[in-house]
């Protein structure tokens, strides 16, 4: 935030080595633990880790073996609580990838407040922070977490300001890092400009590339869920493609793409397929032919039902959708989702339910189903014109294009808190359960594609006997969280 690079003209080009060295020095000086970061030492530590604790290798291996890995979220306010949590997720939850979610103060670089949060948490004996304050603990202390588990670890830090946290995380021994400039800036900030968010993530990607130059292939990952609230696959994929181009520009070569589930078996399978394909197509067009882009599916990111039994079906189906869709990993939630951050037990249970669901569906693929093919085609026809237009607006530069397109609403994100995003696009669920776009606002989605969306949505309005208006979109925000007696009542009793 407020870094000197702000006035440099934004572009997708790699940050020159010298500039980057200066940026790093300045960045690391912002909080005492920055001084603990020693790249050479960190590189040695990463190299000393067994392959199965290196997420870059593990993701590649999962693709080779056709596995669908599981990964939860999880962060508590003190090292002790975080240790216990990560051990529980590793052992009781059998997580293939163990997470560390940072707290929201850390995400907003409010490290002084995070310090208070640590103290409060210790005093009250329960976590007062919604994640682990990694910067405050610094890389040396944080490495204890890496040493406590037998799996690769990933940093989850939803923010537009990852510069110091990523330095600490990689130095601590995390081999995975989630976050990207467009996705997180549009979904986690209000006043941060898209350009600034992109620059901050270019720093992170450049740092990952620096490790790669030193022989350590870290796994970077793009959080395609955005606002988590009914994001249509085409929009998620558009942002994923743009963020991928930005990461590739900085030298990243191991880059995961995430997609929040729509909860439609066919649509989610198709989205996973198209996401991987379009990323590779646009990478190739930009001259990158050696980037590894595995796709991760995320358990429902919108509002959850309050009933544990009902939520269990979302957890389980989330495993089914990921397995059938051929996702390389799935990010899990728990039956506590509607209430709050889950206990380690509930979190581990969510992992096991998901894992069993994956086991049961591991043989199923829908590739040859006509509806699947139609949906693949539709998503492509929806996303490509937008991506093309964004790139055109940036004269081929993804960074410039993204900023201008978001400003113009050519690229739009539903339910975004960011004031640099129009957020006028309105998604809603249609009569067949597909997540569609009720109002594309200024997005250049072709007429024939919108006709498909409208047809399904009108069918729904008709079936439910309600007006065809934007209340469909609001209803669709609540839908999955509704109690069962509204979703699927016993239909025939007078009561």
């Amino acid at each position: 935030m407020g870094s000197k690079t702000d006035d440099v003209t934004l572009s997708a080009a790699a940050i020159p080595a010298d500039d980057f060295a200066a940026m790093r020095a300045e960045n690391l000086a912002r909080w005492p633990t920055g001084a603990e970061v020693d790249l050479e030492e960190a590189v040695e530590f990463h190299k000393s880790l067994p392959e199965h604790k290196q997420l870059g290798w593990v993701m590649r291996q999962a693709v080779r073996e056709g596995r669908c890995l599981t990964q939860p979220r999880g962060g508590f306010g003190t090292l002790e609580l975080q240790l216990e949590l990560m051990r529980a997720l590793d052992r009781d939850g059998m997580a293939d990838i163990v997470p560390t979610t940072t707290d929201s103060y850390t995400r907003n670089e409010q490290w002084t407040q995070a310090e208070t949060g640590i103290e409060e948490s210790k005093r009250q004996g329960r976590s007062m922070l919604n994640g682990f304050p990694m910067v405050n603990y610094g890389p040396r202390e944080t490495r204890k977490l890496i040493e406590a588990i037998g799996k690769p670890a990933i940093v989850l830090s939803g923010t537009a300001m990852p510069r110091l946290t990523c330095e600490i995380g990689f130095a601590a021994g995390y081999s995975g890092y989630l976050g990207s400039g467009i996705a997180y800036t549009t979904s986690y900030t209000k006043n941060t400009s898209i350009a600034e968010g992109i620059r901050n993530y270019q720093y992170l990607d450049r740092l990952a590339a620096l490790y790669l130059e030193h022989g350590v292939e870290l796994h970077r990952r793009q959080p395609g869920f955005l606002t988590g609230t009914n994001v249509p696959p085409s929009i998620a994929i558009t942002v994923a493609v743009l963020d991928t181009l930005l990461a590739a520009g900085q030298g990243v070569r191991n880059y995961g793409l995430e997609l929040g589930q729509t909860l439609h078996l066919i649509q989610d399978s198709a989205a996973i397929r198209v996401c991987g394909e379009l990323a590779q197509e646009y990478l190739a067009a930009a001259g990158f032919d050696d980037m590894f882009t595995p796709v991760t599916s995320l358990h429902w990111m919108g509002a959850w039902p309050q009933d544990d039994a009902q939520a269990a079906a979302l957890v389980s189906y989330g495993g089914t959708l990921a397995a059938v869709g051929g996702a390389v990993s799935v990010t899990t939630k728990s039956t506590h989702e509607a209430y709050g951050i889950p206990t380690p037990e509930a979190n581990a249970e969510g992992l096991r339910t998901t894992r069993m669901a994956i086991y049961l569906a591991r043989h199923i693929r829908l590739d040859d189903l006509p509806e699947f093919k139609a949906e693949v085609d539709l998503i492509r026809r929806e996303a490509k014109p937008v991506i093309d237009k964004v790139l055109e607006m940036g004269d081929g530069d993804a960074a410039q294009g993204a900023v201008k397109a978001l400003e113009a609403g050519v690229l739009d994100i539903p339910w975004s808190p960011n004031r640099f995003v129009k957020s006028r696009v309105m998604p809603a669920r249609d009569a067949d359960g597909y997540l569609r776009i009720y109002d594309p606002a200024d997005m250049p989605i072709p007429k024939d594609v919108m006709a498909v969306h409208e047809e399904g949505l009108k069918k729904r309005a008709e079936a439910e006997g309600v007006a065809y208006d934007r209340d469909l979109a609001v209803k669709s925000v609540y839908e999955i969280s509704e109690p069962l007696d509204r979703l699927l009542p016993f239909p025939w009793a007078a009561e």
């Binding site: 309050q306 506590h336 206990t343 808190p417």
Partner: protein, 155 residues
């Protein structure tokens, strides 16, 4: 929704926003839209709003109530002294509601409600609360206060 009650919803100004470093805007936006549709005057501050901005906005717009959202779990830290801030600013009579996922994790609701009441909130709402319900309770509370704008004469 019936806006012809006494006091008139159109005479009532409500400030909405999401407190602290919290980006969860969806519920707050739906709430704001719903309150507006119901006839209230609504001042929306959006996500990531520091406590003092709520108070400033309430002062500037002579608001009758503040509707604070907090979802991300750290509300307990963000909301400390919220009522005091209001009192300092001369808004001691202002109606304070808060709603969302108000603590970290799944905790006993009664104890959560108690904690926030002690912080000075008049009403505390759990995640999942629907807008219609909020409107109903607002009407009741303002009716009980008879003249909703009274507090401005207060200090």
């Amino acid at each position: 929704m019936n806006t012809d009650e006494n006091p008139k919803r159109g005479d009532i100004t409500l400030v909405t926003g999401v407190i602290g470093a919290d980006t969860h805007i969806v519920g707050n936006r739906i709430l704001s839209l719903g309150l507006e549709e119901a006839g209230f005057k609504v001042v929306t501050l959006g996500a990531l709003t520091p406590a003092d901005e709520f108070v400033k906005a309430a002062l500037e717009t002579a608001a009758d109530g503040i509707m604070v959202s907090s979802l991300y779990g750290q509300g307990e830290l963000d909301c400390r002294g919220f009522r005091d801030l209001c009192i300092e600013a001369g808004l001691e009579g202002i109606l304070l509601y808060i709603g969302g996922n108000l603590v970290v994790g799944k905790q006993d609701w009664d104890s959560v409600e108690k904690r926030y009441k002690e912080m000075g909130f008049d009403r505390v709402f759990a995640n999942g609360t629907r807008v219609e319900e909020v409107v109903e309770i607002l009407d009741k509370d303002f009716a009980a206060r008879k003249k909703p704008a009274r507090k401005k004469a207060g200090t």
